[in-house]
């Protein structure tokens, strides 16, 4: 290290002060309610090469620690003082990850030399395109997701490119908001530049430059230190999205985490092909792309909350992401809903890391409810009313440290809800129920966090309820060390006559007066054997309504009297029985729910591997189509016809190749042999 440990801490505080002042300036001056409510923005400072070395801790999005701006910084030929650059193109440099995110960067000069960049982004409510807010799972090409700008100078030597601005404003649905938010971003990077200049004036440019590198090196060293305390090995984990497009088939996300000493390789081979929907994550195959690394940051920070959150944290990692996959799509795949995929992928990293540190990291978090918005007609004001009602996310997974938090937590811990009273004043709906769901947390020595439930009644025709990121009706949160899986999520429509319709993973519903929807997230999963949970805690869960008296007996083996007292004899007896059963089955790292086990009975690892291997050789635009054909074929097989060893898939691919001879040159071994043809 070039910098002594006292000066480095002082420099760190000053750098954080710059990044945080930028964040508060942006937050204070931003126009849109979306930015104020969701805090979906970032600010920060990067090295001249683009690596983030300071990000705010208490304001803004949590996903972008260590975002590398190199891809866009290098796209501009030369920089001059007073320049400000922007881009929102997910395919130019792979910094922006979907079109609503407008990224901005400004070079900070000192004596004619660039010493840092002030950077950041805002999620704009709308960037134009096929649907309001620019995001829809059903989009198939990035062109439907709004107007895009390559890395461009928005301001050259202090002069605004008005034509560029005009073009943007013409193409978006709420131009005054975009304009206002862009001004807030400009104010933020200008604040960053001014405060960085103050810092350099105070400490000297050499000290600051050396300090920046040392901060990143410290982040790296601390990160390597955390990794080196984990046992070496390969930790494989798989999880799924329920649907690859509206009404579709599952998406597999697979990771082999190889921890070697103080470094790690993250191999995502085996994950689904690029999709004909907006669930793709644009990473450009960058071996430390931030969307691949969100779960990494969460896990390392959880293992040691004293590590500095900067780009050095990512350096020990090396990702392998095959091109043309859902985690590395090629242009022009749609990417708008990458947040759903990214959220699940965080869980995949948490799963792999859990195996490496089962007593220090939690099991699966709930997820799946969706972020609920309502658009309806307000007869009292004669206006359309639109509001973001609530994120319905459910609880965290249990861990050796204790129960999962109820109703939110783990990697959803950054979300905020809207008060029931505000929702009912703003939108003419009635919220009939908002709370936690009994028995939804996976049973365990540490109980999974409970699911959240939201029930609304609609009073106007043509009301549209959207539930962005709906998922987890099939694949629920995974338990570990003997703990049970969480409950799956549900979505139900209740007609005025009481008839209930299961809406599954639907994310857009049109409703009529008197109709009710009930939405529950999944529950968090349990950790450790439920029959080993302290009976007093089980009785407390029953008293608090988290667990029913029936489930206490069935899942925890704790028999309670109607007044809540523990029946010690019956409990001992029942728990002994459960312990015996547990001893008979081999110990396993993970526990899955019925929906997942049913799916994997058909889609075994061997079958999925056969599919992934074959699809990797099919031209990218064909992959999703071929996947669907194979799924359709396998779905027709009876249990007797299925082998589960890969041949189910091979047969299906052979049929596909027979029907589409263009594929034969890519998959020659599946081509019908001449003999057979004759």
């Amino acid at each position: 290290m070039r910098t002594d440990p006292v000066t480095l801490r002082v420099l760190e505080n000053h750098a954080q002060a710059v990044a945080e002042s930028m964040a508060y300036t942006l937050f204070r001056t931003a126009h849109s309610t979306f930015v104020k409510e969701t805090e979906d923005f970032t600010t920060g400072l990067t090295t001249p090469a683009g690596m983030t070395f300071a990000s705010p801790r208490d304001l803004g999005a949590t996903w972008f620690i260590g975002l590398d701006y190199a891809g866009v910084i290098g796209a501009i030929e030369d920089y001059e003082e007073g320049d400000i650059c922007v881009t929102n193109d997910p395919y130019s440099g792979y910094v922006c990850t979907h079109t609503p995110d407008m990224h901005i960067w400004k070079p900070i000069f000192w004596e004619g030399r660039i010493v840092a960049f002030a950077v950041g982004h805002i999620h704009n409510t709308d960037m134009g395109g096929a649907v309001p807010a620019s995001l829809s799972r059903a989009n198939t090409e990035v062109h439907q997701e709004g107007i895009r700008f390559r890395p461009t100078k928005l301001v050259s030597r202090g002069v605004m490119n008005e034509q560029l601005l005009e073009t943007m404003l013409l193409n978006v649905r709420m131009p005054e908001q975009n304009r206002g938010d862009l001004n807030a971003q400009i104010a933020a990077v200008n604040t960053g530049e001014a405060k960085m200049h103050e810092m350099i004036a105070k400490f000297g440019v050499e000290v600051v430059e050396a300090g920046i590198e040392d901060l990143l090196d410290t982040g790296e060293a601390r990160s390597r230190d955390v990794l080196s305390r984990l046992p070496d090995g390969e930790y494989r984990f798989v999880d799924y999205l329920d649907e690859d497009a509206p009404g579709g088939v599952p998406v597999r996300l697979e990771l082999a985490l190889r921890i070697r000493g103080d470094g790690a390789e993250l191999d995502f081979t085996g994950s689904d092909p690029q999709l004909q929907s907006a669930l793709n994550m644009p990473t450009g195959g960058n071996s430390r792309h931030i969307l691949l690394m969100v779960g990494w940051n969460y896990c390392l920070y959880t293992l040691d909350p004293s590590i500095p959150l900067n780009g050095g944290l990512l350096r020990p990692a090396e990702c392998i992401v095959p091109e043309g996959s859902v985690l590395n799509p090629v242009h022009p795949a749609a990417v708008g809903m990458r947040s759903l995929t990214c959220g699940r992928l965080q869980g995949v990293l948490m799963g792999a890391f859990h195996a490496a540190a089962p007593d220090r990291l939690p099991v699966g978090a709930a997820g799946g409810g969706g972020i609920v918005n309502v658009k309806t007609f307000d007869i009292a004001t004669g206006r359309m009313a639109m509001a973001s009602i609530d994120p319905v996310v459910g609880g965290a997974g249990g861990s050796a440290r204790g129960d999962g938090t109820d109703g939110s937590g783990a990697n959803s811990g950054f979300l905020k809800n809207t008060p029931v009273e505000i929702n009912e004043v703003e939108v003419p709906i009635r919220i009939r129920r908002y709370g936690l769901v009994q028995d939804s947390g996976g049973a365990g020595l540490a109980r999974g966090g409970l699911a959240t439930e939201l029930e609304l009644e609609i009073f106007a025709p043509d009301t549209v309820v959207t539930a962005r990121n709906r998922d987890r009706t099939v694949f629920a949160a995974w338990g570990g060390q003997g703990g049970g899986a969480g409950a799956p999520s549900t979505f139900t429509k209740i007609a005025p006559d009481g008839i209930r319709t299961d809406l599954g993973n639907t994310d857009v519903v049109r409703l009529e007066p008197g109709e009710i929807i009930n939405l529950t997230s999944g529950g968090g999963a349990g950790w450790g054997f439920a029959h080993e949970r302290d009976a007093v805690l089980v009785a407390r869960d029953v008293a608090r309504g988290a667990v029913s008296i029936e489930e206490a007996s069935l899942r925890y083996g704790v028999v309670l009297e109607p007044d809540g007292r523990i029946d010690l004899n019956a409990t001992d007896h029942q728990r002994e029985k459960m312990a015996r059963t547990a001893r008979m089955s081999p110990p396993s790292t993970y526990t899955y729910n019925a929906g997942r086990m049913a799916f994997e009975a058909i889609w075994t690892d061997a079958n999925y591997a056969a599919l992934s291997t074959a699809l990797a050789r099919v031209p990218v635009p064909w992959r999703h189509y071929v996947k669907r054909r194979v799924f359709a074929h396998v779905a027709q097989l009876s249990e007797r016809q299925r082998s589960g060893d890969g041949r189910d898939v091979e047969a299906a691919i052979a049929l596909a190749v027979a029907a589409m001879p263009q594929l034969a040159e890519h998959l020659p071994e599946y081509a019908p042999s001449r003999d057979a043809a004759e």
């Binding site: 006292v6 505080n13 000053h14 104010a187 948490m350 939110s408 950054f414 505000i422 936690l436």
Partner: protein, 684 residues
């Protein structure tokens, strides 16, 4: 003879400030707090006043007091066993809170356990809509059933918090009646009476905090009234409030939620008073105690106000003087973190065991120890001789860190101060960006036991041009309570557009609140002087989710003209956020009425400035700015109005030590404030 006496109770000391009504002269006394016997320190202190300053209890004409009983009960979770009744199907309001976790980067982050756990939360059958209309009438049987279940689980009190009670309080009021009739011994609290704000979690949390501590605070105030009467204090005691005002202790018994943050608020009011008197228009106040540093922005003698604060683990929504708390105080502990970097705080040695130099069993190096080891606190005693300082212990506590860093003890001590100051720099920078102010235009007003030690260093770091140290910085909170006005705030939810058709409703609402406020100040508070009524609207553009306060122009209200009100909102929005949208519709979310009863404030004593250079008492050998050097040492009582003194220097006084690092020139103004001026202020 008659004296006004103000008391502020802190973590270690209770500070007493007595003002002679005839001369304005100020006398101060400090005693140790008695956390096990709340109130005893008050009696002890009055005894000390009598003994040392000759002020008999019967000479006391006016008595104000800031109590910490409520906040301590909350932090130590020693309130009553409370149940919560909510609208059925919404019983998880405290569990869900606003969802966001304290540290969203930590997968194991958890919200603190609510004050009322779910086994004591019961749903009641009733439902109002957003307009206050009845969807489901209140079901008496479900109230009784809930109460019986709560009592079976040992509840001593019940908070009623029903949806939309801010709009229509009938259901809560009826349920309270039912409970009073059926269970007369139960404490019952209605959310709409504590603070009728929209947002069920915030209203419920505020009501729960109130119910949790109210019986404790009430019995404390009763006992205190009795004890004061017993020793012959004739003046009816007043208590300080979080809003910077005061009220009678009698009213405080039922309004304790309004007092929880009174300690920090009184300090800011004291600072504001000093700033106003000495004509400092823009001031950043810095109050450093044992565990934290509190900073506030004061303009023209007025602090900012807000209503969303945190007490202990929970949000509380009552009008409060805006203060930003930084986790660095004199007792903050220095350590080497896992990366080998020097870190200061947030752990604190607090007042027990306190810094190592206090010799009370503390062994870890604190900020105070760093100053002691550098030779910058040399009086040998702090707090009127109640704490003896031991430099050897301070050095011994720092030695392991010095070894880890490969530096001398002095260099390490300096590093501790530098790291602490850079942490404060970070937090103050955030505060200024949030408010859109340039701190270089402000003076730093330092008080509390630690403020005058750190202020010079912080002012240099922030590029501020001036530091002000009042004559008795250790007791400014006590003075703040003494100079405070009677003050109360009333609120009503409006939630309609600012438009001609709603002006009638708005005027009626203001009138109603004014009548409530008048009743409070005249009939309940029995204030005899002049009273001022200020109506303020919480407004926003439609679609925004945050409000800003805009004073309501009485003439426009009278005339039913929304124009001037809209113009005032646009202007305030522009001032705060840098932009406004004159075309956009404006909503009024709530109307607040602030009533203040002016009390005669003692003018700060001033004396003629005799401009002169004062020679130091002696030279002090210290480690400062990277070198061992001889600097000037003064006693504060030698620095009277008009004095100019050498800098750098150390100024010792009974309640604190002022450290002036290189880069300042020093003088004393007519009020006896030390004015430290940067010799070369940072350019903008």
């Amino acid at each position: 003879m008659s004296y006004r006496v103000g008391v502020d109770i802190g973590g270690t000391f209770a500070d007493f400030c007595a003002v002679d009504e005839a001369t304005g002269e100020i006398g101060t006394v400090k005693v140790l707090t008695t956390p096990d016997r709340p109130g005893q320190e008050v009696i002890d202190g009055l005894g000390a006043l009598h003994e040392r300053l000759g002020i008999a209890p019967s000479d006391i004409s006016y008595f104000t007091h800031g109590t910490t009983v409520g906040v301590n009960a909350l932090i130590m979770r020693k309130g009553i066993r409370l149940a919560l009744f909510t609208t059925e199907n919404f019983v998880d309001v405290l569990e869900l809170a606003r969802l966001k976790m304290p540290d969203p980067y930590d997968l194991l982050s958890a919200r603190p356990e609510p004050l009322v756990t779910r086994d004591l939360v019961f749903g009641v059958r009733e439902r109002l809509d957003a307009q206050g209309g009845i969807v489901t009438p209140l079901d008496r049987d479900s109230v009784i059933a809930a109460a019986e279940a709560a009592l079976a689980r040992g509840a001593e009190g019940v908070v009623l918090s029903f949806l939309h009670a801010y709009r229509n309080p009938d259901h809560e009021a009826k349920a309270a009646e039912i409970l009073a009739e059926a269970f007369p011994d139960l404490h019952v609290f209605c959310s709409h009476r504590i603070r009728p704000i929209i947002r069920e979690y915030e209203r419920t949390s505020t009501a729960v905090i109130h119910g949790y501590v109210q019986p404790r605070v009430s019995s404390y105030l009763g006992a205190l009234q009795e004890a004061l009467g017993g020793i012959g204090v004739k003046a009816a005691p007043m208590v300080t409030k979080s809003n910077g005002g005061i009220m009678s202790a009698e009213l405080g018994k039922s309004a304790c939620v309004e007092m929880l943050l009174s300690g920090t608020a009184a300090g800011v009011m004291g600072a504001a008073y000093v700033a106003e008197e000495c004509g400092a228009g823009r001031v950043l106040s810095l109050d450093v105690g044992g565990t934290s540093a509190d900073v506030a922005i004061i303009r023209d003698g007025r602090p900012g106000f807000g209503s969303a604060e945190t007490v202990g683990d929970f949000p509380i929504y009552v009008p409060t003087v805006s203060v930003t708390s930084i986790g660095e105080g004199g007792g903050s502990i220095a350590r080497l973190d896992a990366a080998g970097l020097l870190a200061v705080g947030p752990d604190s040695a607090g007042s027990q065991p306190g810094p190592a130099a206090y010799g009370r069993g503390g062994t870890q190096a604190t900020i105070t120890d760093a100053f002691v080891a550098s030779g910058l606190i040399d009086l040998g005693a702090l707090g009127y001789g109640m704490v003896a300082l031991d430099a050897d212990r301070a050095r011994a506590a720092i030695a392991p860190l010095a070894e880890g860093l490969g530096r001398s003890v002095e260099e390490t001590a300096e590093g501790i101060v530098g790291v602490a100051v850079s942490g404060m720099y970070r937090e103050v920078s955030k505060l200024c960006s949030r408010r859109g102010v340039d701190v270089r235009d402000f003076s730093l007003l330092a008080f509390g036991g630690g403020g005058p030690m750190l202020a010079g260093f912080l002012a240099r770091e922030l590029g501020m041009a001036e530091v002000i140290v009042p004559p008795a910085p250790g007791v400014l909170s006590a003075l703040g309570g003494l100079t405070a006005e009677v003050r109360n705030d009333f609120t009503a939810v409006a939630y309609y557009d600012l438009a001609s058709e709603n002006m009638g409703d708005l005027a009626a609402c203001v009138k109603r609140l004014a009548e409530t406020a008048r009743h409070w100040i005249v009939e309940e508070q029995r204030h005899e002087g002049e009273a001022v009524y200020q109506a303020v609207a919480e407004m926003r553009y439609r679609g925004q989710s945050f409000e800003i306060d805009v004073p309501l122009d009485a003439a426009a209200l009278e005339a039913g003209d929304p124009g001037p009100l809209a113009a005032a909102f646009h202007a305030e929005h522009h001032r705060l956020y840098g932009h406004a949208d004159p075309e956009a519709p404006i909503q009024i979310i709530a109307v607040n009425m602030i009533v203040t009863g002016h009390a005669p404030r003692p003018p700060l004593p001033r004396s003629g400035e005799v401009v002169r250079d004062v020679a130091p008492d002696r030279a002090l050998s210290v480690h400062l700015d990277g070198a061992r050097r001889e600097i000037a040492f003064y006693r504060r009582d030698a620095l009277t109005a008009g004095a100019r003194f050498e800098c750098p220097c150390v100024v010792a006084q009974d309640d604190t030590t002022v450290i002036v690092p290189p880069g300042f020139s020093g003088r004393v103004d007519t009020f006896g404030n030390l004015i430290l001026t940067r010799e070369r202020p940072d350019a903008h």
